[in-house]
């Protein structure tokens, strides 16, 4: 087993374990911080998929953006919200069981789909030009963004602006009229 594989499965295990803990943990603040770990290890896995730029973006946006946003949202909002968040009741419930069964069923379906498909031998995978570890993906992404994917890029930028305005509008304090 090569060191590459050892590292990959380590990060894969880290991702899944941390995600599992995030999902099962009752304490919200802890689960949010564990969410960091999941995101980081995912970013590591992106690297193993030869997508170093994506990995960096993932870290920058999720850790620098989403998580900070979440934490700020909790910390800056009033104490009632936080206390209300803490006081979520625990215990196993029928709905947990139902959700578990559905999730497992879904996992089963996905597993069967993946297992039954011989992905490596698919024609377009076989014939495709693979990215090699020495390629400059940032260069490629930059060219693609400005040529082939210019329209989606602009659309996403407008979308981002809309989300920004929308979030700001929703979160503002309502004026007492």
């Amino acid at each position: 087993m090569s060191p590459e594989q050892i590292l990959f499965y380590f990060f894969a295990a880290l991702t899944l374990i941390s995600a599992f803990l995030v999902v099962t943990m009752q304490n919200l603040v802890r689960s949010i911080f564990l969410f960091f770990v999941t995101i980081f290890s995912l970013a590591a896995m992106f690297v193993f998929a030869l997508a170093d730029f994506i990995a960096v973006t993932q870290v920058v946006i999720y850790v620098g953006g989403v998580l900070v946003l979440m934490l700020f949202a909790f910390m800056l909002s009033n104490r009632e919200l936080l206390s209300g968040l803490q006081a979520v009741q625990t215990g196993f419930k029928m709905s947990h069981f139902a959700g578990l069964m559905i999730s497992l069923g879904f996992l089963f379906l996905l597993y069967m789909a993946i297992a039954s498909t011989d992905i490596v031998n698919l024609p377009w995978i076989k014939e495709s030009q693979q990215i090699s570890p020495g390629d400059n993906t940032v260069h490629q992404i930059g060219i693609n963004t400005m040529t082939r994917y210019l329209l989606p890029f602009e659309v996403v930028s407008v979308f981002l602006l809309m989300a920004l305005i929308g979030a700001a509008h929703l979160a503002r304090k309502e004026k007492r009229s």
Partner: protein
């Protein structure tokens, strides 16, 4: 009269106008009580009179106008409705509308301030409308409808002051007795229709009409369309006569008329003079050709008896209006008797003159009552303002009323220079002429009538002397208001001979009599001079006796305890007799019926009820446990299904998601395995 000439259609329209305008008055009931409504009603009455007068001028002694249109059809039988304008109907029209106009004008003052004045004008309008409709209708069916309307509106008017018990009782009495007459008329109607298949008055009773052309062969009454035993001819005649008896207050159905005095005096005047009581005589005139000798005999007997009875009762009455009421009954007896002896024209003649002087009598009495009533209220006294024993000396204070009442009284008594003299002589002379052709009881008829006429002179003289002569009891009483007095003056002029004939002493010159076919009785010249002289002298004698007794008050009076006095004063005890003969047995029958109902009918009903109870209990058990069980089971099932389904509609997004994904995942897992 010849100046005016209109086409038949126009005249028909005029007669309809005469009908329609009083009907418009009916709508015044919609307004709140206001005095100005009277002017509307008077205007309507005036238009009606003008239209009637035009029709009268154009039709009297000219061609008969008969307009009709299809009314409705039952099977093959077409019923028509229309108007018939001949001498009889146009005379009645002008009489009815004229009298009603005068009564309207009079009522304006007489009824002033009454809280229900809007109802008064409306009822009065309805009354005139019904009477005019009765007069101009050409179909027996229409006549029956208007006949009922007359009865109904008289009920409303007699009971106008319905808060008084006596008034509502009197109205009920009038209505019920009139119903008896209505049954008679209806019976006659049905016989006529069964025999002749038509209600058309012209076809039935006109010259060469169906009644004339029907023949009697071997006791069978044969008409062109049907036949029946001859007894039905008499029955039909009786039936119509019973109708006339009730409306025209003939013995023994006369008792409603004196009680009808409970209505306002102006209404009494209208009922007595022109409208209601004349309807009976009018009906006899319409169906005149139908009567056979048997019916004529009955008519004569009833008429003469009524005339005599009315006069004798009037002798001792003390209520001023009751005296006049009985005098009306008596005079109606004259008319009916005249009809019976075949003096058709004379009867109508007397009806016309009687309309004026009787109206005048009532309106004058009304003026007296009105003034006394006001005097009583003004001085806050308590006495019966209709009792002639409590009056006296009013002649000096109320000269117009006094003089006009004297004229009317003279006309009633049959003194010369009045219309009443002419018409009464016409009736009496014709009766003498008729009686000379017969033997037996028919010889008596004219003598009874003469006796009645003398009695009439006496009681009316008694009334006049008691009211207007003697010592004045009420200082400061005044003449009636000018609008009432004017009506009295107009009526007084109409009561004189000048209206009906240019010759004050002989009725033969009268234009009214010339409008009708003669009685067909062989004339005896001798009666034409003797009868008037005898009757007049007798009447004057009676008046003088009355003057001695009542005006001079020299102490000579009748004993008030005597049998005859009480017999007369209690109106021959007829009310008591009716009470004993009809009311008591009916009450007893009702009592027995009640007991029968209570014991037997109720018993059966209760038994059936108990049976039903048991049955229903069984049904209840079945229903509760079997039917309800099934129904409830279905309901419970539905409820549980519903509750189960409700759980999916929890409102929680996660539940929805779980449900949704369960389906999706379940579906794909199933497809995978299958």
């Amino acid at each position: 009269m010849g100046v005016l000439s209109f086409s038949a259609g126009t005249l028909g329209a005029f007669s309809l106008i005469a009908l329609a305008f009083p009907f418009i008055s009916l709508f015044t009931i919609l307004w709140r009580s206001k005095d100005s409504l009277g002017h509307i009603a008077i205007f309507n009455a005036f238009i009606s009179f003008i239209a009637s007068f035009i029709v009268f001028c154009c039709v009297w002694n000219k061609e008969v106008i008969h307009l009709q249109t299809g009314w409705f059809t039952i099977g093959e039988n077409v019923f028509t409705a229309g108007i018939l304008l001949n001498n009889l109907s146009v005379l009645m029209m002008v009489l009815v509308s004229g009298i009603s106009l005068l009564v309207h004008v009079y009522s304006l003052m007489y009824m002033k301030g009454d809280p229900g004045i809007n109802k008064y004008w409306a009822y009065l309008g309805l009354f005139c409308f019904s009477m005019l409709g009765l007069v101009v209708s050409d179909s027996l069916l229409l006549i029956y409808i208007f006949w009922e309307l007359v009865g109904f509106s008289s009920y409303l008017l007699i009971g106008f002051w319905f808060t008084r018990d006596a008034a509502s009782q009197a109205a009920k009495k009038a209505f019920i007795i009139n119903r008896i007459g209505d049954i008679g008329l209806l019976t006659g109607l049905m016989i006529m229709y069964a025999q002749f298949r038509t209600f058309d008055v012209v076809k039935l009773f006109g010259p060469m009409g169906l009644v004339d052309s029907a023949s009697i062969i071997d006791g069978i009454w044969i008409s062109p369309v049907s036949q029946m035993p001859v007894v039905w001819l008499s029955v039909a005649g009786f039936a119509f006569f019973i109708g006339a008896m009730a409306k025209s207050a003939q013995f023994p159905l006369h008792t409603w008329l004196p009680d009808a005095m409970e209505g306002p005096t102006s209404v009494s005047s209208l009922i007595h003079a022109a409208t209601m009581v004349a309807a009976g005589v009018f009906l006899l005139g319409r169906v005149y050709p139908l009567f056979d000798s048997l019916v004529f005999n009955v008519i004569i007997i009833i008429g003469v008896l009524t005339a005599f009875l009315g006069a004798t009762i009037a002798l001792t009455q003390n209520d001023i209006k009751r005296i006049l009421a009985y005098s009306t009954i008596s005079q109606l007896g004259f008319m009916i008797a005249a009809m019976g002896i075949g003096a058709y024209g004379e009867s109508i003649f007397h009806l016309a003159t009687h309309a004026f002087f009787k109206c005048l009598l009532f309106l004058s009495a009304g003026a007296v009552i009105h003034q006394l009533h006001h005097y009583k209220e003004h001085h806050q006294l308590e006495f019966d303002h209709q009792d002639i024993r409590l009056m006296g000396g009013l002649g000096k204070k109320m000269p117009v009323t006094f003089i006009s009442m004297c004229v009317a009284a003279a006309a009633l008594a049959g003194l010369p220079l009045t219309g009443g003299y002419l018409s009464k002589d016409a009736v009496l002379i014709t009766s003498f002429e008729w009686a000379s052709g017969y033997h037996g009881f028919k010889k008596l008829v004219p003598y009874v009538l003469v006796l009645t006429s003398w009695l009439t002179a006496f009681y009316i003289a008694r009334l006049i002397f008691k009211v207007f002569f003697g010592k004045l009891r009420y200082e400061g009483i005044t003449e009636a208001s000018s609008s009432m007095s004017r009506v009295l003056i107009v009526l007084a002029i109409c009561s004189l001979f000048i209206l009906v004939s240019f010759n004050p002493l002989s009725y033969e010159g009268s234009w009214i009599l010339a409008g009708f076919t003669g009685s067909g009785v062989k004339p005896f010249e001798v009666f034409h001079s003797i009868v008037p002289i005898v009757v007049t002298i007798g009447s004057i004698l009676m008046v003088l006796i009355g003057f001695r007794i009542y005006a001079k008050r020299d102490g000579r009076t009748f004993r008030e305890k005597g049998f005859f006095y009480r017999f007369s004063n209690r109106a021959w005890y007829l009310n008591e007799a009716y009470n004993l003969m009809f009311v008591k047995p009916v009450e007893r029958i009702a009592h027995y019926s009640y007991r029968f109902d209570k014991l037997i009918v109720d018993g059966v009903v209760n038994l059936a009820g108990a049976g039903m109870g048991v049955l229903s209990r069984v049904a209840d058990w079945l229903d509760r446990y079997i039917v309800d069980g099934a129904v409830n089971g279905a309901a419970v099932l539905a409820r549980h299904t519903g509750n189960f389904a409700r759980q999916f509609q929890s409102g929680r997004l996660q539940h929805y998601l779980i449900t949704m994904l369960t389906l999706v995942v379940g579906f794909f897992i199933l497809t995978y395995f299958i």
